[in-house]
């Protein structure tokens, strides 16, 4: 893995994805959120009546729920929400082949490295541009295996029964204010179904990108891994820099059926004016395994706690999360595991890096219901502080109703030490190179679980972020 490039070598000394392509959205909703907007979205998508009703009900729930007062600072969020567009649709139709994708959109993808990914036969590239999938390819063998990897809209259109059976079941609209908002205005995202016993070697990948200024993005992803199946879904996000506040609120629901194994990987690098409030949760059945691998960089505030609800005996949930908070950023992240059946096991490993005035919060929940005998859970959170002004907090909530269970929690906070820096510098590395190497070492336990190109990208992003950490 080429890990020794310096920030200068990589040419990453300015925000890499700060470019805007000029394109005209086909349809754009008015600013703010109201019933009219919701009806317009549903009509534009040509949805069945039940979905419109579901959206409208969610809107009511959204309006009734107060703004959360815990976690990050949401005091200015209302103003932001009044100003944003809740729906933008860039194209009339979903593209099936790369050649059909309009040039300016293609340019954006090229700068994000999508064609390379395609060339490397990274299999099903589902790329989301603004609010909808415009490009989506699926390996033929997957089609043959009966795997569905579609935009969420196509999922609803083409697989209405499957869709309706699972939509909103893991995360109901009423779960929290932002899941309600998403249920009202969702647009874009993926619909995935892995049939019984099907194992996929190459990951399913989706690339998300928000482009329109002040456009909210409300992707909705629904994944069903049927019995004994095995797959890995990767989502990477990046957004250009804008001067005004921006907002992203996704909902990701995953059902992992008995004996299935599913991994969901996200690397998010939102621009630093973004509010990123995401609800992601998996329902994990008997002897099934769910793994969340969650990397959060960028954004102004991220509140995101991937969850595993272990409802079947012998289910296993694993959450690995890494957060990076630079100047003025707050990453309020962690994970939740709910043990609701016997012999369930879980682990949460969380690593955060805070630089400058950045703040990282670990917020985690480990809940063991009565009757979940022999439940085992281990939580480990490590925070690395780069500067004197950096901040970290830890809120591990533990609720145990079953005596016969075993719960462990460990937390460490470390600072980049003068002795470490001197040691590396005495070998010829500059202070900045030394700092970047220490940080890479800190995240290595998580980076090594990523596919190579994502690990490289993560390392590069960290290097970029580490710039100016010295002095």
């Amino acid at each position: 893995m080429p890990q020794n490039d310096t920030i200068q070598d990589l040419g990453l000394d300015e925000y890499k994805y700060h470019f805007i392509t000029e394109d005209e959205p086909v349809f754009r909703s008015g600013r703010g959120l109201n019933e009219k907007v919701v009806r317009e979205i549903s009509a534009q998508k040509g949805e069945p009546e039940w979905m419109l009703q579901s959206r409208l009900k969610a809107l009511e729930i959204y309006n009734a729920k107060p703004m959360p007062t815990w976690g990050g600072d949401l005091s200015k969020l209302e103003e932001v929400l009044d100003q944003i567009y809740f729906y933008v649709r860039p194209q009339e139709k979903m593209e099936r082949s790369w050649d059909d994708v309009p040039v300016n959109i293609k340019e954006t993808f090229e700068r994000l490295g999508i064609p390379e990914a395609e060339q490397k036969v990274l299999a099903g590239v589902g790329a989301q541009y603004e609010s909808e999938m415009v490009y989506h390819s699926l390996k033929k063998e997957w089609d043959d295996k009966g795997v569905i990897f579609d935009s969420i809209e196509d999922g609803l259109r083409n697989h209405p029964e499957l869709f309706r059976e699972y939509f909103g079941k893991v995360i109901p609209a009423a779960d929290n204010k932002f899941s309600a908002m998403n249920a009202a205005v969702w647009s874009g995202g993926s619909f995935v179904y892995i049939p019984k016993g099907v194992e996929l070697d190459t990951p399913l990948q989706a690339y998300f990108r928000v482009n329109q200024e002040q456009m909210g993005q409300f992707e909705r992803t629904l994944i069903i891994a049927d019995e004994g199946s095995k797959a890995h879904y990767i989502e990477g996000c990046t957004a250009p820099v804008y001067s005004t506040e921006s907002f992203h609120s996704g909902v990701i629901e995953i059902i992992v059926k008995p004996g299935a194994h599913f991994r969901y990987t996200t690397i998010q690098n939102w621009s630093t004016n973004m509010y990123n409030l995401v609800t992601q949760r998996a329902m994990v059945h008997e002897n099934a395994t769910m793994e969340w691998l969650d990397g959060n960089l960028g954004s102004k505030l991220t509140m995101k706690y991937p969850s595993c609800v272990l409802v079947g005996e012998g289910a296993h949930g694993s959450i690995l999360s890494i957060a990076y908070s630079g100047d003025g950023q707050h990453q309020d992240t962690g994970g939740k595991v709910i043990h609701a059946a016997p012999n369930t096991t879980s682990s949460i490993i969380s690593k955060s890096i805070s630089k400058g005035t950045g703040r990282s919060t670990y917020r985690g929940l480990c809940q063991v219901h009565e009757g979940a005998v022999n439940a085992k859970s281990n939580v480990e959170c490590d925070a690395l502080l780069i500067n004197e002004t950096s901040r970290t907090d830890t809120y591990p909530y533990i609720e145990i109703e079953e005596k016969k269970s075993n719960i462990g929690h460990e937390a460490t906070v470390s600072k980049v030490g003068d002795e470490q820096l001197f040691y590396l510098m005495s070998r010829g590395m500059s202070e900045e190179e030394a700092m970047a190497l220490i940080v890479r070492g800190f995240i290595e336990p998580i980076a090594k679980l990523l596919p190579l190109e994502y690990a490289v990208e993560l390392n590069r992003l960290i290097e970029l972020e580490m710039e100016g950490s010295v002095g």
Partner: protein
């Protein structure tokens, strides 16, 4: 022997950054190209401090004197600049860098030496690393372990010698490399250092040690005795042998007598 020393220390005084009292109280020392010198002295005499000051440790502050390395004044240089100029410090207590493999660490250190835009050839690097590890009788898997993380005392010291072998310094400062080593590890480490010196006879080495023991394996050209921040005696290997027999007592007595004389004289 060439006429100008490769390292020349003149009246060097230094203290811990936020304290008042000098630990080094006027050190004078010349090392010529290819020489091996040893500095011996009791705990607290300032010998480890000397190596840290030479390598540019930010925890120490130079309060006076000069240090010239290859004709250049180095006290104003950053630790990385000194390293790139050819100074290497083998640490007494090597530092753990969790998650960073030795190979990655060395690659980064070697890449840092190249001009901007130049890329380290990874195949050459790998070949060199394997050859160096073989020379030091190390298992190839060692390169994949995180730097000093969970290492035994012996492994840490061998890792220091491996780094020295890979970075090819002009001047190696070895700060109590023998501490914490059993006799087998001591032999392996000494053998490695000797081979590096045979391979490059111009490699100049300054060894800091408490004990004569190490000097049975690495033969010094000159031995210095350091006491209370000053070099109080210099000579050949016989100085170390005399110390082994008589300890530092005679120097302490001599020092006290000298101090008393100085007091009378003032």
């Amino acid at each position: 022997m060439s006429d100008t020393p490769i390292l020349s220390i003149r009246d060097l005084t230094a203290k811990v950054a936020d304290e008042d009292i000098d630990i080094l109280k006027g050190v004078d020392l010349d090392l010529f190209k290819g020489e091996i010198h040893a500095i011996m002295g009791p705990n607290g005499s300032g010998k480890s401090t000397l190596t840290k000051v030479l390598a540019g440790h930010p925890g120490y502050e130079v309060t006076g004197g000069t240090v010239t390395f290859r004709g250049e004044e180095i006290l104003e240089m950053e630790p990385d600049e000194r390293s790139q100029a050819g100074v290497f410090l083998a640490f007494q207590y090597p530092v753990e860098i969790p998650g960073v493999s030795i190979a990655n660490f060395l690659r980064t250190a070697l890449q840092a030496r190249l001009d901007e835009g130049d890329e380290l050839d990874l195949f050459d690097f790998q070949d060199d690393l394997m050859a160096r590890m073989e020379m030091l009788e190390m298992d190839p898997t060692f390169a994949e372990r995180p730097v000093n993380d969970g290492f035994s005392g012996g492994e840490k010291k061998r890792n220091e010698i491996l780094q020295m072998a890979m970075l090819r310094p002009t001047l190696a400062l070895m700060d109590e490399t023998d501490s914490g080593l059993d006799i087998d590890a001591l032999q392996v480490v000494s053998k490695g250092v000797n081979r590096l010196h045979e391979e490059n006879p111009e490699l100049t080495i300054l060894i800091i040690t408490h004990y004569q023991r190490l000097l049975n394996y690495i033969k010094p050209d000159r031995v210095h005795v350091m006491l209370d921040g000053r070099i109080v005696r210099s000579g050949g290997p016989e100085v170390a042998l005399a110390l082994e027999a008589g300890g530092y007592e005679e120097y302490r007595v001599a020092d006290a007598a000298e101090a008393a004389e100085a007091a009378r004289g003032s």
